[in-house]
Amino acid sequence: MQIEFKHVTHSYESNNPMSGLGLADVSCTINSGKFTAIVGKTGSGKSTLVRHINALLKPTSGEILVGERKITSETNNKNLKPLRKNVGMVFQFPESQLFEDTVEKDIMFGPQNFGVPEKDAKEAAQEMIDVVGLGSEYLQKSPFDLSGGQMRRVAIAGVLASDPETIILDEPTAGLDPVGRKEIMDLFKEQQKNGKTIILITHNMDDVANYADEMMVMHDSQIVASGTPKAVFNDQELLDKNYLTLPQSAIFAQKLQAKNFHFDQLPITISELTTEIKQQIHGD
């Protein structure tokens, strides 16, 4: 399912007399089956952008194509279920959406809303609790007795259980421990291998370098750059303008450059970095 933004503008209008611009004439394409990362400073419009994909927000002008489905300012609030079934969304701090008395029921909540029969929803819950790395003994617990990280996993299982084609992740690892965050990121990569499209909002450049196929950089409600992480992180102009920072490996490579190493392109992952260093040490 390809996602295409065509000249999308969104201005927030609230009861508050002040109102802000969320998106300013954004056009972009997110390809099916790819792992796309969206980065940018706080308030640059990342969350606003992705909320358009499942019509939680509607554009003030312009249109969004999600597969066959078109979303414009006139889109009706009815009949959005097929769209929302296909586009799963994991929010920043998703644990605040849990409400059922058992983990199992909470995971089944999404699929059942989308019309999956109880039996199948139960099976999905069984399967997903394993996928997110919790055992099936958790199914009968109350979600409120779990730790923050476990709640996060339950919430993610709840979104995966509806079997969406596209999964949107809004800073899914914020506040998790390093091992936990790696497990969760690996889980999403695994989902991509199963044919899903992944869209990840993150402030962690190492995650972008390690997991993403494509990246987009947002600044002041606009997309200022897009391409492969390798190309974008090597764009000196973006770095000069302070639109993004580098992953650790690239920072390390920059420091090595001062010590007579030479990189045509900055390596962005640890494995790239080590191969480059090995070559240069042995190549001398």
Binding site: P17, K81, R84, G88, S96, G110, N113, V159
Partner: protein
């Protein structure tokens, strides 16, 4: 809303008391001249405040149906001996129309003046003035500071809870909940997935706040100094004199 004008700079206690005083004297108006005079006064206050008039119109919007309902009710249900138009239990008469117009004016006056207060005064200023106004009640052991603290915390929580509610609603919508679809029972049921997380997060915010306050050594009781000191100045005195003038003119127009 941030801004700067004479009204902004008035002592919040004066603004708070005058607003209530004004809402009181609105009910003294009894003829065209007195309503017109009060309207001129309110428009004058709006003008002096330099707040964009659009915000006052926006303030009317949530009350629109209530106003319409009351006005229509008054217009058609006022009994009269000289109806202009009559159909079964509905009567349209001159008296009814006059009363409906007065009620409409009252709504507008009260909403405008309270909008003026809320737009030019921060919630925290309002709770400070309530504390200061209630101070005399300390004599009868009324816990003024605690009440004021509760009030300012509650005020601070309102935007927080609104934010939290939209967030939770979005999350449940993404999981396929459709608010405003189906019959009454189904609609009520759709709110369970919002209310429970909302309660849970309110309790955890409240708990965090309590811990944060205790760890900074908060203790209730006497002797706390204030960060924001309310300052009574000459212009506040003049405002009160001005209001007294307004009252006298109103009383005069009333019996006119």
């Amino acid at each position: 809303m941030p801004g700067d004008s004479l009204i902004y700079r008035l002592d919040p206690r004066v603004k708070f008391l005058i607003t209530f005083y004004f809402i009181g004297i609105v009910f003294l108006a009894n003829n065209v001249a007195s309503y017109a005079f009060l309207m001129v006064f309110v428009l004058f206050a709006v003008l002096v405040s330099k707040v964009n008039f659009i915000f006052f119109i926006k303030g009317l919007r949530p009350m629109f149906w209530l106003i319409l309902f009351t006005v229509v009710l008054q217009a058609f249900f006022t009994p009269s001996n000289h109806p202009i138009w009559h159909w079964s239990f509905l009567t349209l008469s001159k008296e009814g129309l006059v009363i409906a117009t007065y009620i409409f004016m009252r709504f507008i006056l009260i909403i405008f003046i309270s909008t003026l207060l809320t737009l030019t005064t921060t919630p925290i200023e309002i709770s400070d003035s309530i504390e200061s106004i209630l101070k005399p009640l300390r004599v009868i052991k009324f816990p003024v500071t605690q009440v004021a603290l509760m009030l300012s915390i509650a005020l601070r929580f309102v935007p927080l809870l609104i934010d939290e509610t939209t967030k939770i609603m979005d999350a449940q919508r993404a999981r396929g909940v459709d608010f405003g679809e189906g019959g009454l029972i189904k609609r009520i049921k759709a709110f369970v997935p919002i209310l429970i997380p909302l309660f849970v997060s309110s309790f955890s915010i409240a708990y965090d706040l309590a811990i944060a306050m205790e760890s900074r050594g908060y203790k209730d009781g006497q002797g706390r100094s204030k960060y924001r000191v309310l300052q009574w100045s000459m212009r506040d005195n003049w405002t009160i004199v001005f209001m007294a003038g307004v009252t006298i003119i109103l009383l005069f127009l009333r019996s006119y």
